[in-house]
Amino acid sequence: MVLLGAPCWLRSRLTDRFWRVQEVLKYARHFRGRKNRCYKLAIRSVRRAFVKSTKARREKKRFLRALWITRIEAASLEHGLKYPAFISNLLKSQVELNRKMIADLAIYEPKTFKSLAALAQRRRQEGFLAALGDGKEPEGIFSRIVRHY
């Protein structure tokens, strides 16, 4: 149906403007100032909020990884090890735990974390002996690599 000319347009009125406006305002209710009430200011703020939340999903991964690293560093310093030494020695002893799990262990299972720190420390000492001791002594126990075929 083609509506030509203004007298024909005036027949159809917009009746659900309220709900169209509420669809946008419901995402702005927790904002500060007039942008939680006024539609004109709210559409801008809501659009920016959505764009920021989309972009922040990539940042969240970096942020959480940094948080886990900070926590593991704090926990390993309690046991006398620095973070690079802890992580590198754990990897050399074939303990492939990611930072999220190690951080959760450090919070909820402190004794397990203490044993992990002790393992890393022992592997570190064996690494020093292998590098400085020059050959004659037998290889350390925790330096052995298990291959799963």
């Binding site: 309690e78 046991h79 909820y108 299972e109 402190p110 004794k111």
Partner: protein
């Protein structure tokens, strides 16, 4: 064994209204088949002369979901009913974490005094271990 979370489905429609035509066709044709295919869901058909036709779904955890079926065909109502029958009654919002435990800590959660030596074990010039 699988327990269906949908308790009952109430079909409220008016016998004369124009937008309840799909609901009436559903009752005539597909309601019996639906009830036979889902034997653990109770289907209540109640004609009432009131507002728009509704499909009320009540779940085992108490949530009640209302779906408008005005101006829908019989097939669409069947699809809607099967979708509701497959859902559980949990709210449909964003799940913050895909995991949950009631007992997160087995060895005791860390607190600032976990790795500090206590007065019982300190060996210093003044304090003696007991």
């Amino acid at each position: 064994r699988y327990v269906r979370q949908l308790q009952r489905l109430q079909l409220l429609f008016s016998p004369t209204a124009a937008d309840a035509r799909g609901a009436r066709q559903f009752v005539e044709e597909a309601a019996l088949d639906f009830a036979r295919q889902h034997p653990d869901v109770v289907l209540y058909i109640s004609p009432r002369c009131g507002p728009a036709p509704l499909l009320l779904a009540e779940y085992l955890n108490g949530t009640v979901r209302e779906e408008l079926i005005a101006s829908k065909t019989s097939e669409e109502i069947v699809q809607l009913a099967t979708k509701l029958a497959g859902q559980s009654g949990l709210d449909i919002i964003r799940i913050r974490k895909p995991f949950h435990t009631d007992n997160p800590s087995v060895q005791g959660q860390w607190h600032p005094l976990t790795n500090k030596p206590s007065a019982l074990t300190v060996q210093g010039p003044r304090l003696q271990p007991q």
